[in-house]
C-alpha cells in the first residue's frame, strides 16, 4: 500500500481483488484523506459499527480505492457515551451523507462536519434511538413525529420552489426533490432521500452467514448479481475458500447479463422520457427477450439467488451456451440499428446533448463513480483496474467519455452493451470445465472479509465481520451514495422539464443507499 505516510500496518484480506485492512489512530484517520487524495484515490464507503461488548466502544470505517486496491481503514472509538470521529467530508464530499446516515443509525458524530442534519431518519424513530446499536432489536415501533427538514433556502427576486415527491406520478421509488427555480431554470436542487428504510443491515445480524447472500441480493433488485457476488466474495474471503474457475466464469456471465439487461431497459426509458415511445417499445422488447432467456436457463428473470457461497447453483450446458450465443448475435444487430436511429434522430440528440453535464473536473472533485463516472472522464472500472478471474483473461475494454452529458452517458451505455455482449460470447465459448459449486470451508468463528464487484451502476462493496459464527456487522455499499449528490450538480442551470431525462441517465438506486 502506498499510504506509507499513515504508518499503519495493513493486513491483506484473502480474495480475488487486492484488499487490505488496517486499524488506525485518530491522527492517521485524520491524515488519510489527504494521503489518499494525493495519490489520486477516491472514497468508496464510510460506515460505523457497534463494537461494545467486543472492545468497549464503537468503530467507524472508511474504504478508499487506490491504484493498488482497496484500503479499509477502521478507527476504534473508545468513548461509548458520546462517540465521535474526525470529519472527512471536507476532503471527500461524498462522505457527507454517509456520515449523516452513520449518525442516524448508530449515533456516531462526525466532529466539525458542515452538515449535521439527519439523512435517513425521517421522524419515524426518535432522535435518541439508534437502530443499529446492539441493544435494540430493530423491531421497536414508534409513533411517527412530523418533522420539518431544514432545506437550504434560495432567496432572490423571482425565485420559487417546486417540491416533487416522495410520491411520484409514475411508478418509481420514493424520493423528494426540492427545486429552486427562476422560471424554468433550475438554480439549485436539493434531494431528500431515505424513504425506503427497511432495516436490512440490522436484519443481517440475525441472518445465518450462509443465508446472507439472499438478503444482500435484495438490497437493490437491479444489481442482485453484483450484491450477491460481493457478499459471497466477502464470505469466501473469511472462509479462505477458493471457488472453482467455472464458478467464477459463470458468475461473470450472470454479472454481464445483468449489466446488459439494465442498460437495455434504461436506453428505452431515456427515449421515452424524450417522448420517443418507439425507443421504449423496442428496447423493452429486447430486454424482455433477454430476461426470458435468463428465466429459461437460470430459473429466474433477474438471476436472484443464483450466486451462492461456494459458487453458483446453476450450470450451463452446450445447448444453453448456443442459445446465449445466438441471442447475443441477434440482440447486437438490433441494438446497432437502434443506436443508429438514436444517433440520427435530431430531436432526440437535441434533448441529449449538453443536458445535465458533469464536467470531468467536478466528477473528480466529488467522486463520481461507475458508469456515470466513465461518461465524465473518471476512467475506473474494477473489471479493468483489478482484473480478477475471469476478467484477467477476457481483456475487457473500458468505455470512457469526457463530455459528461446525457448523450455521453447514453454512449457509454451503448458501448458497455456491445462490450458485455462480446464478453458473454467469449465466456460461453471458453467456459472452463469443472464443478460450478464447491463446499465452503467451515467458517471460522471470527473473521473479517470484504467483497468488491463492478455492478452495472458502479462498484458495489460488501464488508463483513463475523463474531462467534454469526454476522456481527455486514455493510452493503451502493455506488448511488456517491452519485446522488452529483445529480444535484448535473441539473443546475438546466431547465425543469429536462430533470427526468437527466435523472434517468444516471438511474440511481433509492433503496440501495437506504438499507
Amino acid at each position: 500500500m502506498p499510504l506509507v505516510a499513515l504508518d499503519c500496518r495493513f493486513e491483506t484480506l484473502p480474495g480475488p481483488l487486492p484488499m487490505q485492512r488496517a486499524t488506525v489512530t485518530r491522527e492517521q484517520w485524520r491524515a488519510a484523506p489527504a494521503a489518499v487524495a494525493e495519490v489520486g484515490g477516491r472514497l468508496v464507503s464510510l460506515w460505523g459499527s457497534d463494537r461494545r461488548g467486543l472492545d468497549g466502544g464503537f468503530a467507524v470505517s472508511a474504504a478508499y480505492a487506490l491504484a493498488e486496491g482497496l484500503a479499509w481503514l477502521s478507527l476504534p472509538i473508545a468513548d461509548a457515551a458520546q462517540p465521535s470521529y474526525p470529519d472527512i467530508a471536507r476532503a471527500f464530499p461524498a462522505a457527507g451523507r454517509m456520515q449523516r446516515a452513520c449518525r442516524d443509525l448508530l449515533g456516531l458524530v462526525a466532529e466539525d462536519a458542515v452538515d449535521q442534519r439527519p439523512w435517513l431518519r425521517h421522524g419515524a424513530w426518535p432522535e435518541d434511538y439508534f437502530p443499529l446499536r446492539r441493544e435494540h432489536g430493530g423491531l421497536e415501533s414508534f409513533a411517527a413525529t412530523p418533522e420539518s427538514y431544514p432545506f437550504v433556502r434560495v432567496e432572490g427576486d423571482g425565485v420559487h420552489e417546486i417540491a416533487v415527491g416522495p410520491v411520484h406520478a409514475g411508478i418509481i421509488e420514493p424520493g423528494h426533490f426540492r427545486f429552486a427555480v427562476v422560471g424554468e431554470r433550475v438554480l439549485r436542487l436539493e434531494q431528500h432521500l431515505g424513504y425506503t428504510h427497511k432495516g436490512i443491515e440490522k436484519l443481517f445480524e440475525s441472518t445465518a452467514p450462509l443465508d446472507g447472500h439472499r438478503l444482500a441480493g435484495r438490497v437493490s433488485g437491479d444489481s442482485t448479481v453484483a450484491y450477491a457476488w460481493a457478499y459471497c466474495m466477502a464470505l469466501e474471503s473469511i472462509a479462505a475458500c477458493r471457488i472453482s474457475p467455472r464458478a467464477s466464469w459463470l458468475r461473470a456471465l450472470l454479472l454481464e447479463r445483468e449489466r446488459v439487461a439494465n442498460h437495455l431497459g434504461d436506453l428505452g426509458a431515456l427515449g421515452n422520457d424524450a417522448a420517443l415511445g418507439f425507443g421504449l417499445a423496442q428496447f423493452s422488447r429486447l430486454k424482455e427477450d433477454w430476461l426470458r432467456l435468463n428465466r429459461e436457463l437460470f430459473g429466474h428473470r433477474f438471476m436472484m439467488d443464483r450466486v451462492v457461497p461456494g459458487g453458483v447453483d446453476v450450470d450451463l450446458d452446450a445447448a444453453g451456451g448456443e442459445g446465449i450465443r445466438r441471442q447475443c448475435d441477434a440482440i447486437e444487430a438490433e441494438v446497432r440499428t437502434l443506436k443508429e436511429i438514436y444517433e440520427g434522430h435530431g430531436g432526440l440528440q437535441d434533448r441529449f446533448l449538453t443536458t445535465g453535464r458533469v464536467s470531468p473536473q467536478l466528477a473528480g472533485q466529488l467522486g463520481l463513480c461507475g458508469m456515470a463516472g466513465r461518461a465524465s472522464g473518471e476512467a475506473s472500472d474494477l473489471r479493468m483496474d483489478f482484473p480478477w478471474v475471469p476478467y484477467d483473461e477476457l481483456q475487457a475494454t473500458m468505455a470512457s467519455h469526457r463530455n459528461g452529458d446525457v448523450a455521453a452517458r447514453v454512449t457509454v451505455r451503448f458501448e458497455e452493451i456491445f462490450e458485455s455482449l462480446r464478453l458473454i460470447r467469449e465466456i460461453v465459448a471458453r467456459l472452463p470445465q469443472g464443478t460450478p459449486l464447491v463446499a465452503l470451508n467451515p467458517l471460522p468463528a471470527n473473521g473479517i472479509g470484504a467483497g468488491w464487484i463492478e455492478g452495472w451502476r458502479g462498484d458495489v462493496l460488501v464488508t463483513m465481520e463475523l463474531e462467534a459464527g454469526a454476522i456481527r456487522r455486514c455493510h452493503c455499499h451502493d455506488p448511488s451514495w456517491q452519485n446522488w449528490p452529483l445529480l444535484e450538480h448535473a441539473v443546475m442551470d438546466n431547465i425543469v422539464p429536462d430533470f427526468p431525462l437527466i435523472n434517468k441517465s444516471f438511474n440511481l438506486s433509492y433503496s440501495g443507499q437506504d438499507l
Binding site: H160, E161, I162, A163, V164, H168, A169, G170, E184, G271, D273, A274, A275, L276, G277, F278, L280, A281, Q282, R285, H345, G347, L348, D350, R351, I495, V496, P497, D498, F499, P500
Partner: protein
C-alpha cells in the same frame, strides 16, 4: 332558420360529442401499432369517460368556485366550437353568431379558465403548467389567426361556412397561400392539442407536463369533462383543417339529404388525419420547452408568408 338547418346543426353537435372520443382512441390505436405495441380498444376513451363520470369528484380544500366551474366552461367552449365549425353541412344556423376570429377567441377563453383554475389550487405543478400553457397559447393564437386570414383573403369572408362554401364550390384551384397556411396550421394544431413534439399526452413525468399538469388536481366528473373537452378540441381542430384544406364532400344549404352522406366522408377524412397525427407523434421526440417559441414562430411566419403570397401579382 330552416328545419333542415336546425337538423344539421343539432346533428353536427351530436356527431362531434360522440365522435371526438373515438378520434382520440383511433390516434392512440394507430400510435400503438406504429410502435409495435398491441393497441388499446377504440372504445377505451368511452369506457374511461363512463368510469370517471361514476367516480367521486375530489376537490382540494382551498379550491374556489372558479375551480369547480372551469371544467363546465371549458367543455361548453369546446362544444360550442364544434357547433360553429362546419363538419357535415354548411347550413348552420349558429354559424353567423361566430366567425373565425370569434372561434380563436373561444379557444383562448377556455385556455384562460383552465389556467386560472390550475393556479387556483396553488400547487407548484398547476402554476408551472399554467405558465407553460400561456407561453404556448400566446404564440399559437396569432399563428392560427393568420392561417384563418389566409383563407379569408381568398374567400373575402371571415365566416367559416362562407369560407368552406367558396373553397368547395369554386372550380378546383391550387392556392399557394393555402399550402403555406396548411403547414402552419399543422404546427399550430400539434402545439394547441398538447401533442408530441410540443407536449406528451401520455407522460407520467410531472416535471415535463404541460397540459397534464393543468389538470392534475381534477378527478371524477370534472376530469371526465376536461378529457372529453380535450377530445372535442382535437376533433374541432381536425375539422378546421378539413374545412380549410379538404372541404369537399360537405352538404350545402340546398341539399339537406347530403348531410347524412357527408358523415362517412367525414369519418374517412378524420381516420386518415388521425393516422397521420400518430405517425408524426411516433417519429418525433419532444422538444425542449424553449424550442417551442421557435417552432410556433415558424408557424406564424409561414402563415404570414402565405398571406403575402396571396397578394403577389398572378398568384
Amino acid at each position: 332558420m330552416s328545419w333542415s338547418g336546425l337538423f344539421s346543426q343539432l346533428l353536427e353537435i351530436a356527431v362531434a360529442l360522440l365522435l371526438a372520443p373515438l378520434l382520440t382512441g383511433w390516434v392512440n390505436q394507430c400510435r400503438a401499432w406504429l410502435q409495435n405495441k398491441s393497441a388499446p380498444s377504440l372504445m377505451l376513451q368511452y369506457r374511461m369517460l363512463r368510469k370517471l363520470f361514476h367516480k367521486e369528484s375530489v376537490v382540494a380544500e382551498h379550491a374556489s368556485p372558479l375551480f369547480r366551474a372551469a371544467p363546465y366552461i371549458v367543455f361548453g367552449c369546446m362544444a360550442l366550437a364544434s357547433g360553429i365549425i362546419p363538419t357535415l353541412s354548411t347550413d348552420l344556423p349558429l354559424s353567423p353568431a361566430a366567425d373565425a376570429i370569434a372561434l380563436v377567441g373561444l379557444f383562448a377563453f377556455a385556455r384562460v379558465f383552465i389556467s386560472l383554475a390550475a393556479m387556483d389550487i396553488g400547487t407548484a405543478f398547476g402554476t408551472m403548467g399554467a405558465r407553460r400553457e400561456m407561453l404556448i397559447g400566446f404564440l399559437a393564437e396569432p399563428a392560427l389567426l393568420m392561417v384563418l386570414f389566409s383563407a379569408s383573403l381568398i374567400t373575402q369572408s371571415t365566416s367559416l361556412t362562407g369560407i368552406v362554401e367558396t373553397l368547395a364550390h369554386g372550380k378546383f384551384t391550387i392556392y399557394p397561400s393555402m399550402a403555406f397556411a396548411g403547414v402552419a396550421f399543422t404546427l399550430v394544431s400539434l402545439a394547441e392539442n398538447a401533442r408530441v413534439p410540443v407536449d406528451n399526452p401520455s407522460t407520467h413525468l410531472e416535471l415535463t407536463m404541460i397540459h397534464e399538469a393543468l389538470i392534475l388536481e381534477y378527478s371524477g366528473r370534472h376530469l371526465a369533462l376536461i378529457e372529453w373537452a380535450g377530445s372535442l378540441k382535437m376533433f374541432a381542430y381536425s375539422c378546421i383543417g378539413l374545412a380549410l384544406f379538404f372541404p369537399w364532400g360537405m352538404a350545402e344549404v340546398d341539399a339537406p339529404g347530403a348531410t347524412i352522406l357527408a358523415l362517412p366522408v367525414l369519418v374517412f377524412k378524420l381516420a386518415i388525419g388521425g393516422a397521420l397525427l400518430a405517425l408524426i407523434e411516433t417519429v418525433s421526440a419532444k422538444m425542449r420547452i424553449f424550442r417551442v417559441p421557435e417552432f410556433l414562430a415558424t408557424a406564424f411566419m409561414l402563415a404570414v408568408i402565405g398571406m403575402l403570397v396571396h397578394f403577389l401579382p398572378g398568384a
